[in-house]
Amino acid sequence: MKRREVLVGAAALAAASAWSSTARAMGDDDRLRMAMLRPSRGETSPREGASRRLLQELEKRTSVHVDPTVRVVDIGPEMFEVPFLIMSGERGFEPWSAEQVDMMRTYLQAGGFLLVDASSGVSQGPFISSVVRELGRIYPDEKLGAIPAGHVLYKSFYLLDRAYGRVSVSEKMDAIAQGDRLPVVVSYNDLLGAWSRDSFGNWEYDVVPHGDFQRERAFRLGVNLVMYALCVNYKEDQVHIPFILKRRRWKVN
């Protein structure tokens, strides 16, 4: 690189840093938010603080601006302010009303994303059974299916090859497919448990069997899930960009 180009580049970087110092987001409302969905009124999630930790990691690791305040919402109009919902739990819950099912279907079909996480770290249990039951009502023609290892979700930011969490009961996650998108993803490994810290910043739960390695991978999976919800199959597009540009024949060689 010539000296002049280096100087121009340095000037550009300096200018960029100057702008970043003056730039501010368009208010907290504009930042990426998540909400914890209560499966039924009065129900509390055993991992309510975990998603805040994920958002903090997201801010550090990616260009996404986040609002780490995590709201807890019921199925209703307010969830339409947040296109990313997490529903975690251990216990089974009562069937949703027909109105709630309709609203949930509208939410997911319009572009909303729901991450379901089994806090008990089991692939079958009362919580998962209730989830499967309600998903069957929302999508009567679809079934939960395993997300293949090569799916774009596993490469939306980090390159991963399996599911992670506090425990390791399943290498795969399940999902409902809607066209080229997965509006619902179900994790069985207590993903949120691996993210959880107490008020003093200590990890709330041990991660087994691989400890910190596994916890880091759980965060990476969380980042990938958010990036997938934000960008969907963008990463698949990227693979094809050279081909798309090349096939255009818009120039005479």
């Binding site: 501010r24 368009m26 960008c231």
Partner: protein
């Protein structure tokens, strides 16, 4: 008095008895059986007597069977019927050209040959009826040799197979004794297309010739010897092309009489401006060379292209040195480049909207991580790729129709060098640009003072402090007067309803601050509270920038119109309508024009009347009734398409007023070959509205594309059908191959029933009596 044998000169034997073949065979078998039994019965008799009796019995049986078959004599008086001989004279324009091999024009050679038929007609008066016809212009009509010889050759085409088909239809049911074709062999119809020079007749043409069932005699009006010409013989092109897609045009350059090794420059011009050249080196006395041009149309609409070669000294014809054609450049898919500074819901929902549209070819690039993010992970554990700035903003930028900079700052990516390219993309190439708000956009993105700011329809604030660049308050944007009817912000036709819809949409959270619209920018939505320079601060501003269009939208929350509103019982329709209108407006969708000129055809011949329809719509796209406007037609000659030039002559200026359907009709007379540009202008609410269309007026010169006589084609026609081939001026009508008449006419006819006569009956009785008498005498009774 003559007997019937002199009245009738032909006859046949008929069998009137309605007996089938099986019956006849049965009778023969029965006869054989009877004779065999008789022979057995008569064996004691002397042989002579036995043979006599057997002969008599056989004769009796034969006569009886004959009477059953009812034979008759069909006598006729017949005379031969003359067959038809058709003389086809080529009256197409190529016959005006010099014969080359001899003095004179080709039509003059034909005129000299025609009187030669007089002697033949006289000699074969009882066998042939001669009919003379010209082909090459309209329907075949009988004419006299004198008229055909004297008439000018002006036919626009020469379709010999078509003419032969017409002859076959005209003489259906009659016998054709032969066809004589006087032509130079140039055929612009199926025969010429299917049989190229140097090729044998194809099977389809052969079948068509055989269908005539008559010899075709051909007389060539000269040979190619001595001809000198360079021609653009063919230009192969598509009528339509896709913008930003390379197009191939093939041209065939034909030379004759040009020195071997001569180099010719073949030019391709677009609207008179040189696009490409190709060199052709002449390789023989008569040569054809194909040249290929490949280019990329850059704008949508009609473009007139010209392929030309320079005229040489002594050329037989220079009108065939250029070929013009119209290429309609259309859009295949809207090619959108979406560049996003950081993933967000606004990006996510816009990408989803664009991805779902099958007419959009989307390439997205999102900045997922910046240098300020923690980078403790090895690169091979990340799926990130470098930002291909050079490809997207330089080498491949021209392939897009629209660039969306969505909350994107260029600074960290060493992109300053590409900003002038974006400006060029919009101003020069007519691309669309949308800048969408966010903390990395507008002034916050550092665009102040850059070429991109020049493009934007809004002024950026000079400040650097954050509160000067971004306002955090939520708000609902308000429609301006222009926004009420603009295709981007018109969510309903009725202005009041439109205003209500906008007021009911979810609020926008924060906005980039701009200093106001530029003089050429049109604010469509404004902030309800913020004011700049005494006016409401624009939130959505559009404008024409050079040849392209730009849109500035200062928030990053439009996704809420399509998602948040659902929670309150709304629909995503408003979000979709807004973005659909924005994309279509930015790419200049022709359907969004409020004034449209419609011409129907693209190419006309000199002297034709061109119906021009101007359709004017209100901003809500309802017909604009009683709208006054002006139609201006300018003209430029074809020579400007070959040598370049921008001179235009105003040939029509006419006021018009639309009727009840919002249309006005004007008839335009195009007398001269050239290009006519029709420009309709109407005063609209926001200024003058215009639309243009172009027509090409050219003589039909396909007869002159290939002017080299095709004597070998005529010879092959004669060979194929058993006719004779001759080359004028050496023509002898006596050498023509014509078929003798095969058909006859029956003047009188008589049927004589041979069985139904007393003579036959008496003969039968006589034979029976003789046989009975002999049998009695010989002791057999």
């Amino acid at each position: 008095m003559n007997g019937w044998w002199t009245e009738y000169n032909a006859g046949d034997v008929l069998w009137l008895g309605d007996w089938g073949g099986a019956w006849v065979l049965g009778l023969l078998a029965l006869g054989a059986l009877v004779l065999a039994l008789s022979a057995y019965d008569l064996r004691p008799m002397r042989p002579m007597r036995r043979r006599v009796l057997l002969g008599l019995r056989a004769a009796i049986y034969a006569l009886a069977v004959l009477m059953l078959l009812e034979p008759a004599l069909d006598l006729k008086n017949i005379t031969k019927v003359k067959n038809e001989v058709v003389v086809l004279v080529d009256k197409s324009r190529s016959m005006e050209l010099p014969a080359a091999s001899v003095e004179g024009r080709r039509e003059e050679l034909a005129a000299k040959a025609l009187p030669e038929f007089a002697g033949l007609i006289e000699r074969t008066r009882g066998e042939h009826t001669f009919t003379f016809m010209g082909y090459g212009e309209g329907e075949l009509e009988a004419s006299s040799p004198e008229e055909l010889g004297a008439g000018a050759s002006k036919g626009p085409s020469s379709d010999l197979l078509g003419a032969l088909d017409a002859v076959r239809e005209r003489y259906a049911g009659k016998e054709i004794g032969g066809v004589v074709v006087l032509s130079d062999g140039i055929d612009t119809g199926a025969l010429g297309r299917r049989t190229r020079r140097g090729e044998e007749l194809d099977e389809t043409s052969r079948a068509a010739l055989r269908a005539l069932d008559a010899p075709i005699n051909t007389v060539a009006m000269g040979r190619a010897d001595g001809l000198r010409d360079v021609a653009v013989a063919r230009v192969l092109h598509d009528d339509f092309a896709f913008v930003h897609n390379s197009v191939t045009v093939e041209a065939q350059i034909q030379t004759i009489g040009v020195d071997e090794g001569t180099s010719l420059t073949v030019e391709l011009r677009r609207e008179g401006a040189l696009v490409q050249t190709r060199q052709v080196v002449v390789s023989g006395e008569e040569a054809r060379r194909d040249v290929t041009f490949e280019f990329v149309p850059k704008r949508i609409g009609k473009e007139i292209y010209t392929v030309s070669v320079p005229a040489l000294v002594g050329e037989a014809l220079t009108e065939n040195n250029a070929g013009h054609f119209i290429l309609k450049v259309i859009r295949d898919k809207v090619r959108v480049l979406q560049v996003v500074g950081r993933p967000s819901w606004d990006e996510r929902f816009l990408r989803r909207f664009l991805k779902k549209d099958p007419n959009v070819d989307l390439i997205s690039f999102f900045i997922l991580r910046t240098n300020s993010n923690v980078q403790a992970v090895p690169q091979n554990e990340l799926s990130l790729i470098p930002f291909p700035t050079q490809e997207l903003f330089d080498s491949e930028l021209g392939s897009f129709d629209l660039v969306i900079l969505q909350n994107f700052n260029y600074g960290p990516y060493d992109m300053r060098q590409y900003l002038p390219r974006i400006k060029e993309f919009v101003r020069e190439q007519g691309g669309g640009l949308a800048m969408l708000g966010g903390d990395l956009s507008f002034a916050s993105g550092g665009y102040e003072g850059t070429p991109v700011e020049d493009l934007l329809p809004v002024e950026l604030p000079p400040g650097r402090r954050a509160e000067e660049l971004i306002d955090l308050e939520s708000f609902r944007p308000e429609l301006t007067k222009a926004g009420l009817r603009h295709p981007i912000t018109q969510l309903a036709f009725d202005p009041d309803t439109n205003r209500e819809i906008w007021a009911g949409l979810p609020a926008q959270r924060g906005t980039n601050i701009v200093e106001g619209a530029k003089s050429w920018g049109t604010p469509l939505l404004v902030h309800p509270k913020l004011r700049k320079k005494g006016e409401a601060m624009p939130v959505l501003t559009v404008g024409e920038s050079g040849r392209g269009r730009v849109m500035a939208w200062t928030t990053d929350n439009t996704w809420r119109w399509g998602f948040e509103s659902l929670g309150k019982g709304g629909t995503p329709r408003e979000y979709q309508t807004f973005w659909n209108g924005a994309i279509r407006w930015l790419i200049k969708d022709p359907e969004l024009k409020l004034v449209k000129v419609e011409l129907g055809e693209d190419v006309f011949a000199p002297g034709e009347d061109v119906p021009v329809v101007v359709r004017v719509s209100q901003p809500d796209y309802s017909p604009a009734v009683g709208k006054k406007g002006k139609l201006v037609v300018t003209y430029r000659g074809l020579e400007q398409l070959i040598v370049g030039g921008e001179e235009r002559e105003r040939v029509l200026e006419k006021e018009f007023e639309t009727g009840a359907t919002g249309q006005a009709s004007v008839t335009l007379r195009v007398d001269r070959p050239g290009v006519y540009e029709v420009d309709a202008r109407v005063e609209g609410e926001t200024g003058e509205l215009r639309d243009q269309d172009t027509i090409l007026v050219v003589e039909d010169v396909k007869e002159w594309r290939d002017i080299i006589p095709r004597e070998e084609l005529l010879a092959s026609l004669a060979r194929e059908t058993g006719g004779a081939h001759q080359v004028a001026p050496r023509f002898s009508a006596g050498d023509l191959e014509l078929e003798e008449p095969r058909a006859v006419k029956i003047n009188r006819r008589k049927v004589i029933q041979l069985w139904d006569s007393l003579l036959v009956f008496v003969a039968l009785l006589t034979l029976l009596g003789t046989e009975w008498t002999l049998r009695r005498r010989w002791g057999r009774l």
